[in-house]
Amino acid sequence: MTRKQKEKLRKVLFYFVLALIVIYLLFPFYWAIASSLKSEAQLNMTPATLIPRDPDTGEISIFTRNYRAVFANGGFIRGLVNSTIVATSTTILALLTGSFAAFALGKLRFKGKAPALYVILAMTMFPQVTVLSGLYAVINALNLSARVSMIFTYLLFTLPFTTWVLTSFFRDLPIEIMQSAQVDGATPFQTFHMILLPLTAPALVTTGLLSFIQAWNEYLFALTFTSIDPSARTVPVAIQFFSGEFARQEPFGEIMAAAVLVTVPIVVLVLIFQKRIVAGLTAGAVKG
């Protein structure tokens, strides 16, 4: 085999793997899209069809009423707004406090580092349902509004995550950068602000995105904390409140339509931020 052929084979193999990955990751989502375009009768028909078809004639027939119903549902749009507010605020708070803590834990010398790390991790080691009633009591005692209580309670899982991930990244940064900065007369805070933060952009964006999505998807806390304030309901709760005409009927098509619609803004968000994920340590940035 010549070198060229080898190169070609490698390329073919690469794109084959790539195609497999794309199909694996996207097909279930495609199935959700297809389901969202089916009426109840089309969903129930056997065998299921890859493209929405009419049960009688077998011709392609797209059912759009699910989407119209989702948009007609005021709760859904309101939910999008609430989710955006809550997830963004939580993420910013978690990144701020998390990166402060991570800088101390990853780069500064002090006693009791390991206990501090584990104590922070301990915040998130209980199942959500176990801490729910305790949290509810705290929120009632502090008299927090529904949105604020979601923002703060979501820190329970976003803060340990950002702290730990960022700590591991800060720790990896070459010590020489800091030393050279200190030699240049920069205070530790300046070192943190001017040098470490930009260098760890990929880690910040990655943890930010992952925490954002985690907060965006949270259901149990949101359900409980917004129970008496329906105007603060987030998207997952709003979708769970979708209902058919009758009790017990589950509007599956509408739920799928909403799920598809909710995923779009996230994909857009990732598209905006994705360049940052890989714009991290470049050779030139490392001095000395």
């Binding site: 008496i228 409140f241 009758f246 009790a247």
Partner: protein, 433 residues
């Protein structure tokens, strides 16, 4: 004389003041936590409007709660644990009054005596705690029904089955014929066999209709371990993979409905809600099905498990009296009639089943009157506050038999021991009318 004068002045004062008090009647705001389902919520809001028209000093708000029973219960528990005054009236499942009773007021303290006789006896009993407090007003009822395909029974010249054996026989015959005719997805009978509350309902129907009692009797004896019960559970286990798909052990109401509406099942056990949905025009079942009472077993009569929802007033409400009045209005004749006519909600008031407007809107209410009045309540009141555990042990045991993990006898023997452990009750023989 002077004394009289003082008295007169005092009287004048009292009258004047009470006049002022009456004129400035307190502004009250009440919250009803209820179903979020489209039409259900609309009708509740409409009923609230009706109430506010008659009582201008009261504002009623309807708070929608999740449709999933477990989510809703979780939320209610959270409110009750916090003794929250935010919700005044709760819409509660027919199995909750016993468990949650300690948090609710007694309607007998607020004049329920007068209206209670109009409602179905079984529900009133169900909503009365063991110490005689009526903690819930019946609102609308539900009962298990047998859905059957009229076109297929006609095609193969069969009758609607009246016993489980007949159902089995008819289902098997038509299923074989239909499959031979090319519908390979066709099954005879679909029901709720997943391990959840729905299976408790279905299995209670089998057992009660076979003369096997209702798991725990009204006088708190564990009666489940008897031949009749074991026999019918064994029979049902035989349906799985035969007239019912093996997957029936993972089916809930909605899965069964999906199969029936796709035209892939001859019989279905389901609640009345499926009637309107299966009649929708774009579905193969439209115009081709009807409902009847479920088949009977050895007892000779059919049994339907009691479902439905009730209204309770929280003890932690700031205005328990006004809330009780509102709950009794919502559960009253006027509102129940409106809900029956406009939303096919089954009334709990007997006379409404003879009401012309109601019968015109929902014809099967009349023919199935007996099913609704004689529905069997799950043993939720007598096992309170442990009903959920009792039910879970029961459906887990039945489910293990359905999936073949365990034989009916062992499963029921363990169930009996477990129930004794959980409730502390003695065992007894089932007594049935």
């Amino acid at each position: 004389m002077r004394k009289n004068l003082v008295l007169v002045i005092a009287l004048v004062f009292v009258i004047a003041f009470s006049g002022i008090v009456l004129a400035q009647e307190e502004e009250i705001s009440l919250t009803v936590a209820g179903g979020a389902v489209g039409q259900e919520k609309e009708l509740t809001e409409k009923a609230a409007e009706m109430y506010m028209e008659d009582n201008p000093n009261v504002t009623v708000e309807v708070l929608e709660t999740p449709d999933l029973a477990n989510d809703r219960l979780g939320l209610y528990l959270q409110f009750l644990e916090a003794e929250s005054p935010e919700v005044d009236v709760y819409q509660v499942d027919v199995i909750w009054p016993g468990d949650l009773g300690e948090h609710f007021i007694d309607f007998y303290d607020y004049g329920a005596e007068e209206v209670v006789d109009k409602h179905f006896q079984a529900i009133v009993e169900n909503n009365t705690t063991t110490d005689g407090r009526l903690v819930s007003m019946p609102w609308f009822t539900d009962a298990g029904l047998l859905y059957y395909r009229t076109d297929l029974l006609e095609k193969y010249d069969r009758e609607v089955p009246e016993t489980w054996d007949e159902l089995e026989e008819t289902a098997r015959y038509i299923m074989e014929e239909e499959r031979a005719a090319g519908n390979e997805d066709f099954y005879g009978y679909v029901w709720q066999g997943d391990a959840y509350e729905g299976l408790t309902c279905d299995a209670l129907e089998w057992i009660y209709s076979n003369g096997g009692g209702k798991i725990v009797s009204t006088d708190q004896e564990i009666t489940i371990n008897n031949e009749k019960a074991i026999e019918i559970i064994d029979q049902a286990a035989g349906w799985v993979g035969d007239i019912s798909p093996t997957g029936v052990t993972g089916m809930g109401e909605e899965d069964a409905r999906a199969m029936f509406e796709a035209g892939n099942a001859l019989f279905m056990r389901n609640w009345p809600y499926a009637y309107a949905l299966a009649s929708q025009e774009d579905k193969p079942t439209a115009g081709n099905f009807d409902v009847s009472p479920l088949p009977a077993g050895d007892s000779g009569s059919s049994a339907a498990t009691l479902g439905g929802w009730n209204l309770s007033v929280s003890k932690y409400s700031e205005h328990p009296e006004a809330a009780a009045k509102l709950a009794m209005f919502l559960a009253g004749e006027e509102v129940q009639k409106m809900r029956a006519v406009e939303g096919s909600f089954n009334p709990t008031i007997r006379s409404l089943y003879e009401d012309e407007d109601v019968l015109e809107a929902v014809p099967f209410f009349g023919s199935l009157y007996d099913v609704f009045t004689s529905a069997v309540a799950r043993p939720s009141t007598q096992t309170a506050p442990q009903y959920n555990q009792v039910s879970e042990l029961f459906f887990q045991a039945v489910h293990s038999v359905l999936t073949g993990e365990s034989d009916a006898q062992s499963a029921i023997e363990y169930l009996e021991l477990d129930l004794m452990d959980t409730t502390g009750f003695e065992t007894g023989e089932p007594t049935q009318p």
